[in-house]
Structure formats: C-alpha cells, structure tokens
Amino acid sequence: MIGNFNAHIPHGSLDRKWTNHKDHARLVSPNNRRKFEIIVVGSGLAGGSAAATLGELGYRVKCFCYQDSPRRAHSIAAQGGINAAKNYQNDGDSVYRLFYDTIKGGDFRSREANVYRLAEVSSNIIDQCVAQGVPFAREYGGLLANRSFGGAQVSRTFYARGQTGQQLLLGCYSALCRQISAGTVQMFPQTEILDVVIVDGQAKGIVTRNLRTGKIDMFAGDAVVLATGGYGNVFYLSTNARGCNVTATYRAYKKGALFANPCFTQIHPTCIPHSGDYQSKLTLMSESLRNDGRVWVPKQKEDCAKSPNEIPEQDRDYYLERKYPTYGNLSPRDISSRAAKEVCDEGRGVGPGGRGVYLGFADAIKRLGEQTIRERYGNLFEVYEKITGENAYDVPMRIYPAVHYTMGGLWVDYNLMSNIPGLFVIGEANFSDHGANRLGASALMQGLADGYFVLPYTLPNYLAGQMGKRPSTDHAEFKKAETDVRAKIDRLLKINGNCSLDLIHRELGLLLWDKCGMARNNAGLEEALQKIPELREKFWHQVRVPGDDEDFNQSLERAGRVADFLEFAELMCIDALTRDESCGAHFREEHQTSEGEALRDDDNFASVFAWEFQSNGQIAPPKLHREPLHFDTVHLTQRSYK
C-alpha cells in the first residue's frame, strides 16, 4: 500500500483535539506560500471554499471543474438548509448535541474526533456566510431564523428559502471570483480530471481533458485536493446532476488511494417518484417539507387506486407517526426511506406502479393557512407542479425514495489527507463525517467546514515539508499517466458497437437499485457481482461512442464516466457483501431486529472498511484494510427514534 493508513487522531479530550492539533500543526510563512502550487479539483462548496481560502492565504491555486462555470457545481441544488450549533433558539442545542446527533444519525460508523470538529466549526460557517452576504432567512427583528430537520429535536438549521445550497455556493463562488480577479486562483472550467499523478509516493499532479477542445494537459502541483463530490449516479437515476461522476476518486483509487465504505449510499425519502424509462434524473423535494407535511398511505390496499382526498382520515395510515411517535415525520432519512419501501412492498403504495406514498399538507394548511405554507415552501410546490402537473395545495404530493448522497468516499485521515501523501479529499468525495447515514442539512455544513476551516490548517502541515519538491510535468510519471489516459480514450472511440451508453448505464443502475439499494442480501449481492462484469464486457464490446477526441464530444465524456461506474459498482457490492451487518443506510436483510430495524454488529464491524485496488492485468478482488472506530465519549446504543 502506498503511504500510510493511520487516522492521526490528535491526543487529548474530545473537545480539545482540534485546538491542540491546530496549536501544533506546522505552518507555511506568508512569503513562502506563493512558492506552492495547489491543485483543487471541483468547485462546489468544498472545492470552491478551499480554493478561495487557500488563494486568499497566498498560495497559488489552480481550480478545475467540469461545468462551464464554477457557479454551477451540484452543491447548488441543495434545498433545505445547513446545520450549526448556534443555539439561537434557546432550545438546548450545543456543540456536543450536534456532534451526538450526527454520530448517532450515522449509526456509529464515523470517527468521534472528525464529527466533533465538524460540530465545533459549524458556527464559524454561519458567521462566514453571513459576512459574505448570503441572504439567510430572518425573523422580523432582523436576526437569523431556523427550522428543524430530520434526526434532531432542536431547530438548528439555517436556510435561504428552498435554495440554501444555491446561496451558499454563490457566496463561495463570489469569494472564488474575488481570488480569480486577484490572480491567486486560476480557474479551469470545462476541464475534467482523468488521472492523478503520483511521484515518489506522493500526489504531485493531475492529467486533464479540456472538454471544449479535447486537449489533454498535465499540471504539476505541491498537493492535489479532490473535491469532486459523490458517486450517486452509479445508480443512473439519482437526484445528482447529470455530470456528477466517480471518475476522479475512482482513478485515484486505481492509483493506490483507499476507498472507504463505498456501500454507504443515502436514499432520500422524499423525491418525486420515477415515471418511465425516458427519465434522466429524479428530483428531490426538500426534507424540510416534512416539518409540516404528513406522510401516509391507505390502510387498505383496495383504497390505493382511489383519489387521496376521497380516503377518509380513519382509513389513512400515518406510518411514520405510528412507528416512530417521538420523531414522527422527521425520522432520519434511512429509516423513513425503508418505511416507505415497506408499505409499498405490502402493496399499499400509490401512483403508477404502486411505488409512492403521500405527503399531505391538508392539516398544516388548516392549522397555519395556505399563505404560510406558500411562504415556507412555495417554490417546492411550484417545482412539484411543473414536473407532475399536480397542485399539492389541493392533493397530497406523491413521493418515493431516491438515491441522493454517498457517505462513502476516499479514505482520509484527520487531516483530510488520503493514504497517499499530498492527496487531500474534501466534501462528499471523502468518507469522513457521516458514517452510515447522513442527517439532513449536514452536507453543506461538511463541505464548507472542510474548505473554509479545516483544510487551510491541515494542508500547510503537509506543505511545510514539501518546499521545492514539485516535479516538472516532464517527469516520467506524467508521461505515463498521459499515455494511459490517451489509450483509454482511443479504446472508447474504437469500440464502435451498436448499443447506446444510456442503455448500459440504465441497466447497471437498475441492477444496483434492486440488489444494492435500500435493502441488500447475500444472494442479491452475489448475483450483482456476477452480472456487473457481464455488463462491463457488453460495454467494451457493444457500445457506440461517436465523434472524435479533439472536439467537444459529450458522448466521449459520458463514456469515460460510465466505464468507471461499471468498475466501481463492483467495489460497492463487494463492500456491501463483506459488511455482514446492518447499519444506517446499509440494510442487510439478514440482520434486523424483530421490529425490522437495522441490527448492528459492533463487535465485528465497528470499523471503517478501506479498500485497496488490486490488479493482475485485470481487476482483481480488492484488499480490505480495517480502521477500528473507538468510541470514548458516546455510548453505542441501538438507534431509536421511537
């Protein structure tokens, strides 16, 4: 294995670890910072905030994104909000409580120290965003407003209508723009990373393709930061943007970076249901709707075909409120999603194919008036109306779970550095903070925490020993990486079969959704592991990738990503099969309580699974490394939201 596999958790009590670590981390002096070139891949909340902050500190930053502008990164689509332990509501919140909710929400499969740090810096994020001009919702007195979110009993979520991700990203984009105009950050839009270059065991560069011209380029840096988001699109249909992909992290994995917990994928309970094969993506309806909406299905199968407004109150099953009276409609995402699947499996689902449940607002409208509901969620109701043609003020929304976020990602230590020295991974692309299930409004928090407040301290700690070690792109490793990248592109263009990319990708997605989705079992995963190599074979022999490489070629872009998904899917299923317990979003049907809840096996699986790529010319079974998780502060309990 390249580098080392040590989490580097600082010493000291939990609440002192981050402070101690910062106190002793090595620094780079201001006049030396401009001698370092930092490569940041991705311009979402994590990458954008990191690039802007490092640029402002005086490093020379090169930032890359596949979109035509950094403002379009997929963080922009996050709706509901961002958590912070401000306790502005005086309702009992604290850093500890945010930490505890997050680690419990993750079903005790994340590191105490990382999660505590996240909760600790959460307040700084809100301060920073407000200073940048993010127009968060406010109360009449002019102070910041909060709403509640799943998995918490306090109101700690800050929001900007249903567009919180957009506003936070625009804040971070404006900071990035300021650095671009100051010349500290050089931006490379429409540029895709195709490989990480390792020189003498350290990450020292990348190979990219200019998506507009097809030109292959090489960039050398003193460190490489991957902020390339999650891999939800491995399922073909997800709430991710069309371009989201696993290529950067997967190719880093093939270069020796460990991939951690790839099977931890979040299925969000409130999305607009799937309606046909033509569909290219699924749309999320923010979890915030569950503050006022009530989730239900008919008690009787026979009522499913009826119009919802004709089903009397006593014939409705508000199953979340029934099963989880304490958290009710605000139960965490994994639990709510599985509960929806369960009632649909019982034949009580509604809408086409019986794959949907109602999210009704009739009670809230009666209690608060339509105007209040319109103010709170108006834009979400409009989106719903656009897509389905239905007015949710009159009839309940139909929702169903969909792939939304991936907790797994490249393994990183406390410094957010992978096992490969110099390769840092931040935001959704790493595995670090959400365990086996992420709570709502925590993704935005993590992305910005990593970029604004963690990496600017941990990166210099690495750089301090790297002065003058940046290689030139003439180095043999660069040439080799470039040759490999070109060979792969040539191979894709030469398949020239008669099958479309979407067809194969869709087939892969259906297989994973079925066998490695909301519920998994031994037989299903074995079956998926049989079928994935067949699909891969089909891809490499039958797909048609038109056009050529030195051009704007969207088919070629997608082909490269699908090729990586077809390999990555196997790793996901191997991870799901090896983790022979249920935890959070990873629900192995063999392991459940008598009430059908996830049953953890802490004795054998309270650890991170970090996979190392193995090859013998072909893809060989990956090698497992386990990082045991130590819980010194929290007591491991059966997660209960009843």
Partner: protein, 251 residues
C-alpha cells in the same frame, strides 16, 4: 406524442450553422424537453449519426446550465422555468419545435446548442462579491438585517446565471443579470463598504464584454426562470448614478 424538430447544428465557433429537421416520434408527454432530446440523440447515435450537443446539468432549474431558445423564446414557452423544466405535455401532438442556442454576441457558440457564457463570470469577477476573509467574520447575529431587506436581497440573489435575460433582450443586454448581483449585495449592510466600487466595476465589465444597454423592453423579466424583477435594473441605475456622484465627490 410526435414532434417535428428544427434544431440548430453548428460544428464549431468558426463554421456556419443551420437548422436541421428531425422527427421525434413516440415521446412520452411526461418527458422534459431535454429528455426528448436525449431520446432523439440515442436514436441518432444508434443510426450512426452524431448526437446534438446541448448543455444541461442539474435538470431541475437551479444550476443555470441549460441555454436553449425554444420557438424563439429563451427557455421556451412555459415561464417561469428553465428549459430543463419544460415538459412535452405543454406542447400539442404534431407541433413543430424550433430549438436554437441563446443568441447573444457575447455568448459565442461552442457547438450546436452550446454557448460560452464566461462573460457572465467575468462580470462577477469584476466586483460581484463582499471581501470577507475566512476566519475574520463577526458573530452572525451581531448585524441585524431587517426582514424586508433580507427578503428583497434574496429575491435578487435567486438569479441562476443562465443568461436568458441577455438572450431575450433585443439589445443583448446583461443588465438584469448584473442588476441582480449588485442589488443582492447593496441591499445588505454587509455589502455597504464596497457598494460604490462594486457597481462601477461591474457595469464597466459588462460594457467591456460587449453586452448592449437596457431600453426597458422587459423581455428579460418575462423569460427569467428565477423571476428576477426588472425593477432591479432601476435599482442598478440608481446605484450607478449614486456611485458616480459619490465617486466624483471623492468618497
């Protein structure tokens, strides 16, 4: 549903382009316009053709990547909404649908329906920000912002940066885009220290990119997927005049 499509095809920036006819048959009414294009492309590829290049990413109307002119209207007939939020059930069976890129001199065509909107990024780089170093921010509630100001600021901040305003404008003006960013920041107390410099720099950058001027045709407001009000252009003009006066007074 069945449609006849007339789609702009152009190899690259230098080549001449033209409208090419395609048949789109058996399209589900629940499909979006972009999903209809996906279906057409899939069929094109299987028949040995080259797919139509078009931009899209989030496909839920927030990222601002899609940039199509449909039947002469930026983002098509179903306002407010981006082209990705346009569903085929809004058309009639048998309709002819003309799809072109955004037509703005400052947005050169990259290929087919894809345009280069980096001019908008450069306007923001000229001053569309508040200089706030990470780590230096004061406590978030230390500066109360009246709810009305915060709400109005949010209305301006909702701009998705698609450029439809410029595409719809007979003068190809990016005033609504620039006005939205200037207003968003000018309405907040945090934005006050750089208020003068910001508006002047951004307006100059906008002019340097070759965008036209506003002559109050309100086409921008009509097509804006984020429903940004044209009254923000009046706000921009006020901000600019104010800055010019204060700037010349040495403030």
């Amino acid at each position: 549903m069945n449609f006849r499509l007339r789609i702009w095809r152009q190899k690259d920036r230098q080549s001449a382009g033209q409208l090419v006819d395609y048949d789109a048959s058996d399209i589900p009414p629940q499909a979006s316009l972009l999903e209809m294009l996906d279906i057409v492309n899939e069929r094109l590829v299987l028949n040995g053709g080259e797919p139509i290049a078009f931009d899209s990413d989030c496909r839920e109307g927030i990222c601002g990547t899609c940039s199509l002119t449909v039947n002469g209207e930026a983002h098509g007939p179903d306002h407010p909404g981006a082209a990705c939020e346009l569903y085929m059930r809004k058309f009639r069976d048998g309709d002819t649908i003309v799809i072109e890129p955004f037509r703005v001199r400052s947005f050169p065509i990259v290929k087919d329906l894809v345009v280069d909107r980096s001019a908008l990024d450069r306007i923001v780089q000229a001053g569309g920000f508040i200089s706030a170093r990470a780590g230096s921010a004061p406590e978030a509630n230390s500066t109360p912002v009246p709810k009305t100001a915060a709400d109005l600021s949010m209305e301006a901040a909702a701009c998705i940066g698609c450029g439809a305003c410029a595409a719809a404008c007979p003068n190809a003006s990016a005033m609504l885009f620039t006005a939205a960013k200037v207003s968003h920041l000018a309405l907040l107390p945090q934005g006050k220290p750089e208020r003068i410099k910001r508006v002047v720099s951004m307006v100059h950058a906008m002019d340097a990119e070759g965008f036209g001027n506003c002559t109050n045709t309100y086409e921008c407001e009509a097509v804006c997927p984020a429903e940004i009000s044209a009254s923000f252009i009046a706000k921009l003009n006020r901000e600019y005049s104010r800055a010019s006066l204060k700037g010349s007074a040495g403030e």
